[in-house]
């Protein structure tokens, strides 16, 4: 019943195929066979065990259903008044009552034992070869490798035009990011999961890992992924308006390639730090600022800078964006407590902060005319 061939062909599949299939866009997953009707088998030992337990409990439920509904349908057929059935008057049987109190209890034990074993394994986060810190933000993920000093954001890559039905939807519609999380194959990787604003949840179905990302808490989970590949999941805790648009992609590399990748990222991080001491022209700054704005700010304040009345204030013509530059810098770096405006000083580097503030002051007809250099931001952060 639980052999590999059948795993990909759950019972419901055949019923479903017979049902309506109008526009089929069935894309085979890169890795880890994906089913349209059942839980996926996944690629880790844990996900396999979870799948097996899922199928076990599903079949137990089906069996209970068959027995209970079987008796019921037999009665409906045989004991109907229209067939001349005469009602009996029994209404008690202590033996029966005891039997169907004890029997379910025994069945439960058969489910509880494997569930307890699997849960114990899931909770064993010891002896990890690599720690990755995952931080949920509205509405993107930050991945950091504390040991290597590498960190970056990962956000949705699906173009807005596809979402708004202005362009045909691509293969990995809503499940594609600009920068996936990268981990080595065959190593125990520990995920340290937290959040910076509201509660999110990091779910990677192929690893059977789901943990809430909670501000102020660090949750732990782990995976050993034997095969390199690309795996996709989504945020699974309602986290505001773009909740449906913060996918999770994990790229698993062979160990050697992973080391090379992390080395490259370290170099890039060093180069980025060099930019901090440079000066930029207005044009360069505006161009970079537009990019940062669209990636980081536009979800709330909208690409037009007009915000969403009542929820997110407009920047176009705003008192802050057109007022003294220190005030503008202050709210972007430190956020505004009690509102959804986050402290971006911790999320963006000085180059990006200078660029995006300059952009906000000069886009959409704001035309204040002044600009910031990375060094100005650095000085401000240091306390002027």
């Amino acid at each position: 019943m639980l052999r590999a061939q059948q795993r990909r062909r759950p019972l419901a599949g055949s019923i479903a195929t017979a049902a309506i299939f109008m526009q089929s866009a069935m894309v085979l997953a890169e890795q880890g066979a994906r089913s349209d009707t059942n839980m996926r088998y996944g690629v880790t030992d844990v996900s396999h065990r979870v799948y097996d337990l899922h199928m076990l409990s599903l079949w137990i439920c089906v069996a209970i259903g068959v027995v209970v509904f079987g008796v019921m349908f037999y009665s409906i057929f045989a004991h109907r008044k229209s067939r001349g059935a005469v009602a009996s008057h029994f209404h008690e049987s202590t033996k029966l009552e005891i039997a169907w109190t004890v029997l379910p209890f025994v069945i439960l034990l058969f489910m509880a034992i494997p569930a307890t074993k699997t849960l114990t394994d899931i909770y064993n986060t010891d002896d990890a070869a690599l720690d990755v810190r995952i931080t949920g933000y509205q509405w993107k993920w930050k991945y950091s490798y504390p040991k290597d000093g590498v960190e970056y954001f990962s956000s949705l890559r699906t173009p807005r035009d596809e979402i708004n039905n202005l362009a045909p939807k691509g293969e990995n519609y809503l499940l594609d990011v600009d920068e996936p999380l990268v981990i080595p194959a065959g190593k125990k990787v520990r995920f340290l999961i937290t959040a910076a604003d509201v509660i999110h949840s990091w779910w990677m179905p192929d690893f059977s890992v789901k943990r809430d990302a909670i501000p102020g808490f660090v949750n732990e989970s782990w995976a050993i992924v034997p095969e390199p590949g690309i795996y996709r999941g989504q945020c699974t805790e309602l986290c505001g308006k773009e909740h449906g648009f913060m996918p999770i992609v994990v790229r698993v590399l062979p160990e050697g390639e992973f080391s090379a990748w992390i080395a490259t990222r370290k170099e890039e991080a060093a180069k980025e730090r060099e930019l901090m001491s440079q000066s930029f022209t207005m044009e360069q700054t505006m161009e970079r600022g537009k990019g940062v704005y669209e990636k980081v700010c536009a979800a709330c304040h909208q690409p037009s800078g007009e915000g969403i009345p009542g929820a997110f204030p407009a920047l176009k013509g705003s008192k802050i964006a057109m007022g003294p530059i220190e005030g503008h810098l202050n709210i972007v770096v430190h956020g505004k407590s009690g509102t959804a405006m986050a402290a971006f000083g911790a999320q963006l580097n000085e180059v990006d902060l200078a660029a995006v503030i300059t952009y906000e002051r000069n886009a959409w007809g704001n035309n204040v005319g002044d600009m910031l250099q990375p060094i100005d931001v650095a000085n401000f952060k240091k306390g002027k």
């Binding site: 419901a12 008057h89 169907w100 109190t101 899931i122 509660i199 909670i214 989504q234 009345p309």
Partner: protein, 519 residues
Amino acid sequence: MGADHHGPAKGLTRWLFTTNHKDIGSMYLWFSFAMFLMGGTFALVIRSELFQPGLQIVKPEFFNQMTTMHGLVMVFGAIMPAWVGLANWMVPLMIGAPDMALPRMNNWSFWILPFAFTMLASSLFMEGGAPNFGWTFYAPLSTTYAPPSVTYFIFGVHLMGMSSIMGSINIIATIMNLRAPGMTYMKMPMFVWTWFITAFLLIAVMPVLAGVVTMMLFDIHFGTSFFSAAGGGDPVLFQHVFWFFGHPEVYIMILPAFGVVSEVLPTFSRKPLFGYSSMVYATASIAFLSFIVWAHHMYTVGMPIAGELFFMYATMLIAVPTGVKVFNWVTTMFKGSMTFETPMLFAIAFIILFTIGGLSGLMLSLAPLDFQYHDTYFVVAHFHYVLVQGALFAIYCGVYYWLPKWTGHMYDETLAKTHFWMTFIGVNTAFFPMHFVGLAGMPRRIPDYALQFADYNMLSTIGAFITGFSQLIFVVVVIKCIKSGKQATDQVWDGAHGLEWTVASPAPYHTFSVPPQVR
């Protein structure tokens, strides 16, 4: 009726000032039906958006308002008041009482509700929109990050809570004090028993809900940090307090359903309920267990493994008393002499579909599996099976069962059966495919989804529209039944037993002024 010199007052004041349990019961039922149509409309907005991938009809921020309002209105506006309405109508009739024990308070408990829901619904028109943080309103999304209308939501919840607490005090007082001579506790009809236990659950948990929203109010307006980690608080605390209310809450919605089904099945099987006393004990056990399983809604928050295991085992245990109930119902039908009028159809559908929801609940109780199921459409399928095919079906079951007693006319059986079958097909088409998309990985509360989920979502939407429009048939059945129809006998159904069937049809404005003797 002609001799009835204490008839209802005339005009609007009859309804405004009434202390009559039948009038108040009717108002509850009409109100809840109006809320059901409103919550259903919100559901159709959600399903329309999900008909195809991409954003077509609404924006994500409005989508979130719709999921939130749909949940709140259905739970607090449709299902709960419908049960209170049925209790108002039937509990005094079933225990031989002349009215509810606290009639003036009864009037208040009802009249609070229209104000509470006007307040909640008005938030749709406010700047920043209606509550958009899900009906579970997890902090800090519902505090620091909430739209300004959250304050109206909080006061709305307070009003609903007051209404529920007063309603349940009234039911407990009525059952404890006004039973007819000879009606001992273990002779009470199952519907009365299940409501008796439900009322205690309500009194226990509604103050907890009031507490949690008050803590939110303080976090939002008065600078406290109950749920903000930055201020030394704890966002997970919110979930513990909420679900300490929330889990008993779902049993508040389902226990009276058990009662109705336990009334209807014996009538149409023409055979007494099997295992009456074990049904009573099973209901009480379920109610007790409901207080010690709340954290199974939170398996993924990162509890210590000891907590995780405790809540898993406790949750699995619920299957035992629930199983007893289902087995007893099936055995009640066994060797009966069944006919299949509309209430019986709803009761049988309830048993089958609620059991399916119960079995998926058993799967969800296993913590390691919940890591894959949690916050996906599998959960959405599960709770719609127990709340729509469960609670709602049982409400319809009860309404059709007692409608002839209320109106004095038999309803149109053909039309009623059409309503049943259309609803049955609609809800299963809507909710069964949700199991598939959920297992395949579709998270809940998203306005747009990956392409692999497209087919089943389209199917769900079609089912939702069939369900929605079929409810208009019900309106026709009820109005027809009020205005005309075959005169109902006092007993109405040939297999019916109980005090409510000893009074005239329609039930006179005042009943049991002289208490009946129960042997």
